[in-house]
């Protein structure tokens, strides 16, 4: 069997096995889930090793008829961009399972159900990155919502139902617009030589600029909601606050990447002309997202909301990199997606442990944790440093690439975005100071430090953050050819050095 189908099948098989377990054996379900995700991770790593770096074609391609009458195929394949995102998903899921070992205990449904949902979500995530048939992509895109909806609504905290519904409605709204665009593409393809949902074929369609603009917007708004970009972001803080930390990691780390991934794979590839039309608008929105998200993060009083807002800021960077249309911007944005997955995972997992120990997610309730729980405090600090893109940690490489890549084409946007790094220092250091530093405040004296399981969960995340900070080449070698290929396909070249006009 092909690798892609294999890695998509593994979690499903795991989920089926867990479903057969007796309800009472929740520990066994957890172990099964961990084992399954680890196997999937190993398979994905093998696939990454087999991937031909220099080759810009889609690899591990598979195509079978699914619904013949409409020319819908089960067609999958990956380029470098999709590959790193699949790899990220595969690596993050076992960490999430291990880190959130007890997350499912207070849920509305059983532990079994929780892990089945997680595993199904993993399959969907693989599928959404691997699909090369627009319809298949759409199916995965929407189907992903279902497990997340139940994960938030069934296992979250606080106003979890409301948050879950908000998340679902937002996403469905975007998905609906995208569906309209997809159908329009299908109809157009029928007029121009045969109905198809194949991306490669669709990208060759002839369209009037008005049509292109409308269809582009259909896709883009769906992705902007998912990503999320200002002003479509308000579902994220609510969802992240209500979800369990593990779910939040998958939500921000994996699910939201579908948005930015979709922009590259669909918006750019299918509508190059419309992309050019809308680039100024999108760059503006990205810059607003960066600064706006950062300010809201500074003003956030709840630690989970804070992390959600920092992500809005980071997604602004990613979108900025994508629409800067330079190789640095593109590679940087893709690398940023990968890195953001890990730095947010670290932040959310540690924050989750802090919250579960303290029983509160309000920043003001913490204080002086550095003295009480040094390992946890350090983990949070390193994750925070990664979030503010400290050189030597992975986010720096990607953030700087985005900024440099943007500057060569849109200097003003890059300059405003760079202010984000000062704001980043504020939104990380303020919670660090309030929760980790200062005297140990009442209620925090007896918090337990990380146990072995938690240390094992967080160690690989931090290792990846540090390793890719110093040596990003393994990731960049996969991303670069694909990013360059995308740009050349839609006809952009990097601006040459100007020598300041001399």
């Amino acid at each position: 069997m092909n690798y892609l189908t294999l890695i998509m099948a593994i979690p499903l098989v795991g989920a089926a096995l867990i479903a057969t377990l007796p309800q009472a054996k929740s520990l066994l379900a957890k172990q099964f889930a961990l084992g399954t995700t680890l196997i999937a991770a190993v398979a994905t790593i093998l696939m990454t090793v087999k991937f031909e770096r220099g080759n810009t074609d889609l690899q591990f391609v598979e195509s079978y008829d699914w619904i013949k009458a409409f020319g819908i195929k089960y067609a999958v394949g990956v380029d470098g961009i999709a590959l790193v995102l699949i790899l990220m998903t595969a690596l993050l899921t076992p960490i999430v399972v291990l880190a959130g070992w007890n997350e499912s205990d207070n849920g509305r449904w059983s532990t079994k159900t929780f892990y089945i949902l997680i595993l199904v979500l993993q399959t969907m995530s693989f599928g959404v990155f691997a699909a090369t048939d627009v319809f298949l992509f759409y199916v995965f895109f929407e189907a992903m919502l279902v497990p997340v909806y139940f994960l938030i609504g069934g296992y979250g905290s606080g106003e979890r139902t409301a948050a879950a519904v908000k998340f679902l409605l937002y996403s469905l709204f975007g998905g609906l617009l995208m569906l309209a665009s997809i159908i329009a593409l299908y109809v157009l393809s029928g007029e121009q030589g045969g109905h198809t949902f194949n991306i490669a074929a669709l990208s060759k369609l002839e369209m009037s600029s008005t049509t292109q603009n409308f269809l582009f917007l259909g896709f883009f708004i769906a992705f902007a909601i998912k990503a999320p970009l200002f002003p479509f972001h308000t579902w994220l803080p609510d969802a992240a606050k209500s979800a369990t930390p593990g779910t939040s990691v998958l939500l921000l780390g994996v699910l939201d990447k579908v948005g930015t991934f979709g922009m590259i794979r669909y918006c750019l590839a299918l509508f190059p002309e419309a992309t050019k039309t809308f680039t100024p608008l999108i760059i503006t929105l990205s810059v607003i997202s960066i600064v706006y998200g950062a300010f809201l993060a500074i003003g956030a009083k709840d630690i989970k909301r804070l992390i959600a807002y920092t992500s809005i800021s980071h997604f602004g960077f990613i979108t900025l990199g994508i629409f800067a249309m330079t190789t640095q911007g593109h590679s940087g944005a893709t690398l940023y997606m990968f890195n953001h997955g890990f730095s947010t995972a670290a932040l959310f997992l540690v924050a989750g442990w802090m919250i579960s120990r303290r029983g509160s997610s309000t920043i003001a309730d913490f204080g002086g944790l550095q003295r009480v729980t040094p390992v946890m405090a350090w983990s949070f600090f390193i994750a925070g440093m990664s979030s503010l893109a400290l050189p030597g940690l992975s986010s720096f490489v990607s953030e700087f690439l985005v900024l440099v890549g943007t500057f060569t084409r849109y200097p003003v946007a890059a300059v405003i975005a760079t202010f984000g790094i000062v704001l980043a220092a504020l939104y990380i250091l303020i919670p660090v100071q309030r929760s980790l530093h200062g005297p140990t405040t009442p209620g925090n004296e007896n918090l337990a430090d990380l146990n072995l399981r938690e240390k094992i969960a967080i160690a690989p995340v931090i290792a990846v953050i540090v390793f890719l900070g110093f040596y990003p080449a393994p990731a960049l070698n996969i991303i670069n050819p694909a990013a360059a290929h995308v740009l050349s396909q839609i006809g952009f070249t990097d601006p040459a050095p100007t020598h300041g006009g001399k």
């Binding site: 200002f230 300010f295 190789t327 640095q328 050189p391 690439l401 500057f407 100071q433 300041g500 006009g501």
Partner: protein, 630 residues
Amino acid sequence: MLVNNGLVYLIALPLFGAALLLLSGRRADRWGHLLATALSGMSFILGAVQFYQMLGRSPENRAVSQKLFSWISVGSFNIDAGLLVDQLSICFVLLITGVGTLIHIYSIAYMDHDKDRRRFFAYLNFFIAAMLLLVMGDSYLNLYVGWEGVGLASYLLIGFWNHKPAYATASKKAFIANRVGDMGLSFAIMIAFATMGTVSFSGVKEAAEGTSQGALTAIGIMLLLAATGKSAQFPLQAWLGDAMAGPTPVSALIHAATMVTAGVYLITRSNFIFDAAPTAQLLVVIVGAITLLFGAIIGTAKDDIKKALAASTMSQIGYMVLATGLGPVGYAFAIMHLLTHGFFKAGMFLGAGSVMHGTGDEVNMRKFGGIRHFMPITFATFGLGYLAILGVPPFAGFYSKDKIIETAFYAGGIKGILIGSVALFGAALTAFYMSRVMILTFAGTPRYDINHPPHESSFLMLLPMGILAIGSVASGFLLARGEALVHWLEPLFEAHEGHGKEILPPVVISLMALAVVIIGAAIAWFKYGRGTVADTAPTDVSIFTRIARRDLLQDDFNESVFMRPGQALTRLLVKTDDVVVDGTVRGVAAAALASGSSLRSTQTGFVRSYAALIVIGAVVLIAAIWAVTL
């Protein structure tokens, strides 16, 4: 250029130490500080070996480099993790590892009672590694890594006792001020890449010739912004005083000798940009001159010995920045002053630390007095440093500071006279506030409980102080003898034609400098040396004194111009997000709910009415079909 694959060990050793000490936890408590000191010492030895080998080569072949691996490579943006040690870097390498090792030794004793001593040494080692990377990186981006690395180290060390809220705030303030500067460095790198297509030092140097004045000026100003952040120059100077919250060895190493001079290194390293961008260069001079006076004025009003020294550091770095702004003639003197300052200021900080150690962590000078009787060795080393900073011949400061004042006067025209005078006035102020520190601390009558007199520090603390004192005495002479440093650095800079116009003979300027120093010291003596000094600061003082005590309102300015509006903006945006952005969404939801509940009344719950509706629906449907097919 020569390749030497051993350079990386200079950085790797302390970095390894930091990682090991942090990861091994309490297990390393017993030997951690020793290992850290040893690793720092080994780095120094490696640096010395490099220096020795360098001496043996001809001036053009002295630089050595090492390429580790390709760090970031995307399109035309290619950054190698490469190291470069040339005549300029090696000065810093020796200063960092040398002073660094001494301060490691000092800290063994100073931090003896702290249960987190291991962590402290880990941070120190990390700082050494980051600072070495800063001066050894071969491109602006590599430098940037070290640049932020030292910022992080500084943050960690200032906040070492972060369980005290004020200290935690101080560390945050330092980091954020530094970040503002870092932003400047980011801009500079981005502009360099956009205009020249490269960010390595050698590449930019070559490309600078073909680049327009405007771009170079922009890069220069952004580099200056970076320098003001890291070196606590105007307008980003406010963090340095608060940074004294860190343990005193940290103040000596980071906030006196090494990290804060990184800005001077950056400007000197980028000489090819500033030489081609006179506007930027002029700004450098202005920033240097303002800071010079700014720091000196603050220094006159501070009662906290460490803050007084911090203000002095700010002022002295102002001298260095001023010198770098004077073009090729000034670079060497800036570096010279940097090196001598590294010795005497570190020595004085360690002396201050020794005094604090002896008096039970007292920092208020008004609570000292007559300490020379109890701590003679500290008094001696501090005194030598004092003479050096005043610029009394033949101590180190005389050679370096005099040259800067001289060069300033020779800058030409009104500008020369103006900045020369500023530098000269700065020297007088320096003499005044340093004498004040000296008198309040060591002279006069004791103003503390005489039953618990201060005690002299242990040998481990006195040894580094002694060595640094020797440096304060001798380094100036050694560096200036036969213009040794000037010739050493010469290959790096554009050739220049001697001095500017000599409006006054050098001897006259030296005498003038000496005269103002004596006047400054004398005023201090008359004010503080003769009578008794109140052990609390007098409150009925002039408005100027009060402003100076408030750090020339720098914090008030930052607070009212940046912090409060920023907080207001944050609150406004949070409100906006909730009411406007999310409010719109919620409004749509509420509208849907309202329309739903109004439509609900049509649902009577009677099956038969539903059936009737179905019939009506069918009629409409069939009618529609009928109408269409008609």
